[in-house]
Amino acid sequence: MAGVIKKTTGLVGLAVSHNPHERLRILYTKILGSLQTMPQDAAYRKYTEQLITQRFNHVKSEHDVEKLEKKINCGQIEEVISQAEAELALSRKMTEWKPWEPLVEEAPANQWKWPI
């Protein structure tokens, strides 16, 4: 194991994380827990579970930070952490909004017609 912690992320306001694996483990578990509250056939639950379990497996299998960043392929590990935090907040809001329900109201007949 390399054991070398990078000095800076290069991004303003984003500090280097000392224990990214632990942080990601906690966040992904919370997201998966929040997704359990949605119905099984909801598309959001299906796709997000797929995505999060894939990333979670990468985190569990790869212990080197740099190799993990390459495997996940979505920027630096600190950015991956902020993406996970956003996804957690989103999944909690989705349980309130329930967007998998059918359409609220159809648009009037010529609303989206262009040219008029």
Binding site: Y47, P102, A107, W112
Partner: protein, 244 residues
């Protein structure tokens, strides 16, 4: 000069005459339409229509109740990450029942991708403000309020931004005249600027700029079968007008 002539002849007349036609990009088109289907599958409650324009731009038409959910989803979801709101405008189409069409343009730096979200409203129905999701929407919503009269609920500070302090009316509406209703001048007697009804030296002239030929024959609305038959005859006789 000689080299360009050689290139012209070698490429053939067909391709060089079509040099100004935008090349189609089917790969980007399919990528965008698949992403649009993905979003429509996740948010069926709010998404009414999804389309990809001929310029490869993804557009998402949503119900006005879904502004905050859809924008939050597009910002926070890992597969979307549209953190930038590049533009927020309104379009006035007075013939529609909901005359104002609000357009949000978003940009994802992570995936180098843009998306357009459209909603609708009329003069009196308020919309949810998107300021809690994107702070950039603040002044844009003030501008829409000032210019169109669309009210945004839960906006931190919704007041006029471009018009004069006592200005009445919403200038970007289609029924607001080009010269406005009021003009200002400095009055020496009262020693301040006064606003008076506008007086133009020349009355407004409207020019009919239509060309005698049809601009977009592919989009022509056929009213009845009889007119279609006659129109077909007309088109056949105009074959020589078609580009090579």
């Amino acid at each position: 000069m000689a080299a360009s002539l050689v290139r012209f002849v070698r490429n053939g007349f067909g391709r060089s005459l079509n040099a100004t036609v935008r090349p189609k990009d089917p790969v980007t088109h399919t990528q965008l339409s698949e992403f649009g289907e993905y979003i429509a599958e996740i948010l069926p409650k709010y998404v009414q229509q999804v389309q990809v324009t001929c310029f490869n731009e993804l557009e998402l038409m949503i119900h006005p109740e879904g502004i905050i959910p859809v924008l939050t989803f597009l910002k926070d979801h890992t597969n979307a990450q549209f953190h930038n709101m590049t533009d927020l405008t309104a379009v006035d189409v007075p013939t529609r029942q909901y005359r104002f069409e609000i357009v949000y343009n978003l940009l994802s730096l992570r995936y180098n991708s843009r998306i357009r979200v459209k909603t609708y409203t009329d003069e009196l129905s308020p919309l949810d403000s998107s300021v809690p999701v994107h702070q950039a929407a603040d002044w844009y919503e003030r501008e829409i309020w000032d210019m169109f009269g669309v009210f945004f609920a839960n906006h931190p500070d919704l007041r006029r931004i471009l018009t004069d302090y006592g200005f009445e009316g919403h200038p970007f509406r289609k029924d607001f005249p080009l010269s406005g209703y009021v003009e200002v001048r400095y009055d020496d007697e009262v020693k301040r600027v006064v606003a008076e009804p506008v007086e133009l030296a020349q009355e407004f002239r409207k020019f009919d700029l239509n060309s005698p030929w049809e601009a977009f024959p592919a989009y022509h609305k056929r009213k009845s079968l009889h007119s279609e038959f006659l129109f077909g005859l007309l088109l056949a006789s105009e074959d020589w007008l078609l580009p090579q």
